[in-house]
């Protein structure tokens, strides 16, 4: 949570012995993250107080007013567009020559035919706040012609501090001041909760009953009678506005002022609007209707803590008050609430209402249970000061017995053991004392009593953090750790498996890049329709609260997003594309977490390589992709890689142009031409060739690494075989027979020509194979090889009606 700290206000509670830059550095180094330093206001050169004498309609523009403003004996005609301008107001006026916060210089101007000699300013134009809804109205006592700086002060420096959820004690000016005094050793000037109680006893005026003590361990109330609701004095307005809170009225402003000052959220009720003049703290009923101060009608439930009077709800505990008891101009008697609400209860209320407020944020981080009396007293005194009225005698204080301050034993050896420092007991104690912990030596260790405002500190390790941050992390000397050695077989196997997998992942990408492919990385979230398009049988893993429908499903294949990359680039005239992505896909299961298999997706489109003066490169085709798809497993160490026709239906691919990739007989993936139906959906015009490989299966097959093979000792015999076979016979069929007949002596076989046309019967093709025979034990004889070749031919003739081609 970010709080704004006006420096001049902060200095009311502590001295700041450093320039702003140094202050910021010191705060950052001890744990307060300063997000920004901004200058608010200015010297207001050329700005004066003006008294609006009269307001007339601009003759040529309905929404503009023609104002006559007294700027100290001199009367200026000023045109003003703000709806809230009215005669009798004291307003800030920028005279001709003054420069607004946006840099605009005020000049004499003619607006719709009427001259204007200055400008009545909003707070935004004065660089006081973001409020530019209307002009700023000054207090009635301001004197026309008085320099604005006299009223608003000079420029203010405001720090924005992002306070972590663990440090609720710093969500106030005094909290920040306490941190500064821990650094400086200076004095902390806490505001007093003491108040002059001139009114009747408070118990005669109001009562409080807490029916939910777990949700509200403490509830403090005071009553101020005879108040006059009106605008706040400028000093009050300026301070809270510099801290980022809009001024509403004197009483409400005081509650906010004290919240900013001390960190205790307060709420002011109109006592005379409380039925039975009493407050009951209870849970809301199921479906209890309630209208909050912001005018929103809400439906509550039993999770919400309700502040009620004797009839109905008047506030959501720790979140926001109700419209029914808000302070109005008629309010005469104020009931002031300062409570300690349970953090979880406030958070539930805030979540239920989907409403976060300055109060709820503070409560849900944990409240100091000793703060309420002081804060309510402080606020009562301020209300009496700025709104008149009398503070009733005494305060209502309903509380469960306060738990004693926790006492934690801190082992100095543990401090050094965790931090790697060499602090002694007394140094450690001194650091904690500066943070206002109550520390007593106990032998070599320390006994530390934790003050109520540091309820985040519960354990020894929390104290060690306090020591560390105040000591300074920059003083911790870096040391190298020695990697532990675990010699157990289990640890070795585990490590080997992890490394193998990682090496595979790396080799996969290296290989693809080596093949000339560019790696892409895409989002895992997409529109579920794209999953459906590519893998219709698989239900998508859906996100409950997506950023948009286009990002509402986890991808079930890489193809969808890789095709998006193709389209995106094709739209930018990148037409020759060779890309791959390796990443996870998400497959829903009946129960529990989805499977997250790792896939590789390859996509190519366009020309084989860039154009060259020597001739056209030719378009990518099925066999380019096939060559690649088969080379990849081979590169990963798999020996037997082959492609078979895919006889099921994969909607990603064109049914006639799909191959299934087998590695050592196991299916590792499919590839082929992306189906027109899919390409149309992506509005891709060119054919795209794609391969999808399951990396887990591939790596699993590749786990037996390639072993060294000695070069052959005996010469090979090579033979060619050209046959004519019917079209229905596939290359794979022929290979199978060649292999079966040749046994171990066949070292390699390669198809080197396929021919159709003249001299070949229709429905037939000629296929020519180069075979290489070799034995590991002896030199093969010519006769032996001829016998093998004849055997192959006979087999092909008998099985596939093959004819030898002469």
């Amino acid at each position: 949570m970010v709080i704004k700290v006006p420096l001049s206000w902060l200095q009311a509670y502590c001295d700041v012995p450093w320039p702003v830059d140094e202050l910021v550095d010191r705060l950052v180094l001890t744990g307060l993250e300063v997000d920004g330093v901004e200058a608010v206001g200015s010297d207001f050169e050329g700005f004066v107080v003006g008294h609006v004498e009269r307001v007339d309609r601009h003759p040529n523009a309905d929404r503009l007013s023609l104002c006559t403003v007294d700027v100290g004996g001199e009367f200026l005609q000023v045109i003003c567009g703000a709806p809230n301008v009215a005669a009798g107001q004291k307003v800030p006026v920028a005279r001709v020559g003054a420069v607004l916060s946006g840099g605009l210089e005020i000049r004499k101007a003619k607006i719709r035919g009427v001259e204007s000699f200055g400008m009545i300013c909003s707070e935004a134009e004065l660089n006081l706040s973001d409020d530019h809804e209307g002009i700023m109205v000054l207090e009635a006592g301001a004197v026309p012609g008085q320099p604005l700086k006299d009223i608003l002060g000079g420029p203010e420096t405001v720090l924005s501090i992002d306070v972590g959820t663990n440090r609720p004690d710093c969500l106030s000016l005094t909290g920040v001041a306490r941190e500064i005094t821990a650094l400086s050793g200076g004095e902390l000037r806490m505001p007093s909760g003491g108040v002059d109680e001139a009114g009747p006893p408070v118990d005669d005026l109001a009562s409080v009953r807490v029916d939910a003590p777990d949700d509200c361990p403490r509830f403090v109330g005071r009553v101020i009678t005879g108040v006059r609701i009106g605008p706040s004095p400028d000093w009050l307005k300026r301070r809270i506005e510099a801290a980022g809170i809009r001024s509403i009225s004197n009483v409400v402003d005081v509650t906010n002022y004290v919240m900013l000052e001390m960190g205790q959220p307060l709420h002011a009720y109109d006592l005379d609007r409380l039925a039975g003049r009493g407050i009951v703290v209870r849970r809301a009923g199921e479906e209890e209707a309630f209208t909050t101060l912001d005018g929103v009608d809400r439906t509550l439930d039993g999770e919400v803590l309700m502040i009620a009077d004797h009839e109905t709800g008047i506030g959501v505990g720790g979140v926001m008050g109700g419209l029914n008891t808000e302070i109005t101009h008629e309010t005469d008697r104020v009931f002031l609430e300062g409570a300690c609400f349970d953090a979880v209860r406030v958070r539930r209320g805030s979540k239920t209402l989907q409403l976060q407020t300055d109060a709820s944020r503070r409560f849900e981080r944990g409240m100091d249970p000793e703060l309420q009396g002081e804060a309510v007293g402080r606020a009562a005194g301020l209300i009496a000061e700025v709104a008149g009225g009398v503070v009733a005698e005494g305060m209502i204080d309903v509380r469960t017995p306060a738990a004693p301050d926790p006492v934690i034993r801190l082992r100095v050896s543990r401090v050094n053991g965790l931090l790697g420092t060499d602090l002694d007991r007394d140094e450690t104690a001194a650091l904690l004392r500066r943070l206002r912990f109550d520390v007593r030596p106990d032998g070599v260790d320390l006994e530390v009593r934790v003050p109520s405002f540091r309820r985040d500190v519960l354990r020894e390790v929390d104290l060690i953090e306090e020591v560390a941050r105040l000591y300074g992390y920059d003083k911790i000397e870096p040391a190298a750790s020695t990697p532990p050695r675990d010699d157990s077989a289990e640890a070795r196997e585990r490590e080997e498996a992890l490394r193998g997998r990682q090496d595979d992942q790396r080799r996969l990408r290296d290989t693809m890049a080596g093949f000339g492919f560019t790696e892409v990385v895409t989002h895992s979230l997409l529109h579920p329709d794209l999953n459906q398009l590519i893998d219709p049988s698989r239900p998508s893993v859906m996100v409950d609260n997506p950023l948009s429908p286009e990002l509402s499903a986890m991808r079930s294949s890489l193809a969808a997003s890789v095709l998006s990359v193709v389209r995106w680039n094709a739209n930018r005239k990148v037409r020759d594309i060779r890309i791959f992505e390796a990443g996870r896909v998400f497959w829903a299961k009946e129960e529990g977490l989805p499977d997250e298999p790792e896939h590789l997706c390859i996509a190519v489109t366009g020309q084989r390589h860039s154009p060259h003066w020597d001739g056209p490169p030719g378009a990518f085709d099925f066999y380019d992709l096939k060559g690649l798809a088969e080379a990849l497993p081979a590169r990963l160490g798999l020996d037997r890689v082959e492609t078979v026709p895919y006889d099921n239906v994969d909607p990603l691919f064109d049914a006639d142009r799909t191959g299934e990739l087998l590695a050592d007989g196991v299916r590792v993936g499919r590839f082929g031409a992306v189906a027109h139906r899919v390409l149309d959906r992506y509005e891709i015009r060119e054919p795209v060739w794609m391969g999808v490989i399951d990396c887990g299966v591939l790596f699993g097959q590749a786990s037996d690494r390639k072993a060294y093979r000695a070069p052959p000792k005996y010469p090979a015999v090579e033979r060619d075989l050209a046959i004519v076979v019917p079209e229905t016979v596939t290359h794979r069929d022929i290979l199978k027979e060649i292999r079966a007949c040749s046994g171990d002596l066949l070292e390699a076989v390669e198809l080197f020509d396929v021919y159709r046309g003249a001299q070949i019967a229709a429905d037939s093709k000629s296929m020519a194979y180069a075979m290489r025979f070799r034995s590991g034990e002896r030199t093969l004889t010519d006769t032996e090889v001829t016998r093998l070749q004849d055997k192959v031919l006979r087999r092909l003739v008998s099985r596939y009606r093959a004819e030898l081609r002469s």
Binding site: L29, E33, T165, N166, R167, A343, V344, R347, R348, R361, R365, G417, L418, L419, G420, T421, R459, I464, E465, A468, Y473, D474, I476, P478, A479, A480, S481, P483, P484, D486, R494, L498, M512, A513, G514, F515, G516, T518, E519, V520, V521, T522, S524, L525, V543, D544, N545, P546, L547, W568, V574, R584, F586, L593, E596, H609, S610, D614, A758, Q759
Partner: protein
């Protein structure tokens, strides 16, 4: 006619082999395959042969033509490659035929660089699911349901107790459940935050988590190890600083910064004039987390750290937009 074709073929091949430069080759081509070339003449006469012989003869003549043509090409290429051209050397300035240049994605490159450094430091590399139980992502990291720290990690939910992991930290718990100390692992991986993307925000991030648990692990070691890492990745002059921070699963917790790798720490646009680059969070493993995995915090201590791989890649490769990573503009990704 077949014999004639064969003889012509043999003679031509012999002459081609003897040819010294492309102009010789051109002469040979005209002599055999030109309009009145020897082979052309034979081809024309095929029509005069007996009809049953024609296919056989035609085939042989065509084959001779093909063979001679190929031999001419091969010889011509050889002459040029050997610079034997009578007209002078070949034009070495003509563009060559480049192989397609593949490339790995910057996120892959940074992940590999980072894991290599940590492997050298004795860390194992592990991973875990991206769709994760709330328990691992939050509860067991000491972030109970009603903790305000949940607000700082806007979360995608898939049902009431499954999330897209908001950090790689859940793998800490998974590893410690599986394994007794010592544990020394890093976890590179993808994470998700429910944030509308803008100039500096994305909803997908890539992180690398680190965890080291053993007897006697200290914050000083965390600092020393992070310094070693920073210097391996960015060079020996990089410094590391720790600032106090808060994470429910470490105590003490720090934010760690590297001195700006662009300006060396004097202040520039990249480091917003501060001289420091915020890298990520780290700290000593909170005893509460040890409680979830049954490690005795009196015996073991540990450090944990995170880092944003996207950010490291930006600093390392001078990438200025976080959105570049998943945009996949091939004009940017391709090439050297």
């Amino acid at each position: 006619m077949v014999q004639e074709a064969e003889a012509i073929e043999a003679r031509a091949l012999e002459e081609i082999a003897r040819a010294a430069d492309p102009s010789d080759l051109e002469e040979i081509r005209i002599r055999y395959m030109g309009k009145n070339g020897d082979l052309t003449r034979v081809l024309r006469s095929v029509g005069k042969a007996a009809p049953e012989d024609r296919p056989r003869i035609g085939q042989r003549v065509n084959q001779a033509k093909k063979t001679i043509g190929e031999a001419l090409e091969v010889r011509r290429a050889a002459c040029e490659a050997g610079g034997e051209s009578a007209a002078g050397a070949l034009d070495v300035t003509l563009p060559g035929r480049p192989p397609p240049l593949g490339s790995k994605h910057p996120l892959t490159m940074i992940r590999e660089e980072v894991t290599e450094i940590f492997r050298d430091m004795g860390f194992s590399v592990v991973d875990g699911p991206e769709v994760e139980w709330d328990y691992y992502n939050f509860e067991a990291l000491n972030i109970p349901r009603d903790h305000p720290a949940r607000d700082t990690q806007d979360t995608f939910y898939l049902g009431s107790d499954i999330v897209l992991r908001t950090h790689t930290s859940p793998v800490q718990v998974r590893v410690m459940e599986q394994q007794k100390p010592p544990v020394r692992v890093i976890v590179p991986g993808r994470t998700y935050r429910h944030e509308n993307p803008d100039a500096t925000h994305a909803f997908t991030f890539h992180q690398c988590e680190g965890l080291y648990v053993d007897k006697g692990v200290t914050m000083a070691q965390l600092k020393g190890d992070m310094t070693y890492f920073a210097q391996r990745l960015f060079g020996g002059k990089v410094k590391v600083r720790f600032l106090p921070d808060f994470f429910p699963f470490t105590e003490p917790s720090v934010q760690y910064d590297f001195s700006c790798v662009a300006c060396g720490g004097v202040g520039c646009r990249i480091c917003k004039q501060t001289g420091w680059l915020e890298i990520s969070g780290a700290g000593m493993v909170d005893p509460a987390v040890f409680g979830f995995v049954d490690y005795d915090p009196e015996v073991y201590t540990g450090y944990a750290f995170g880092m944003g791989l996207d950010r490291l890649a930006m600093f390392k490769y001078g990438i200025d937009s976080i959105h570049m990573f998943l945009e996949n503009d091939l004009r940017q990704l391709e090439g050297p």
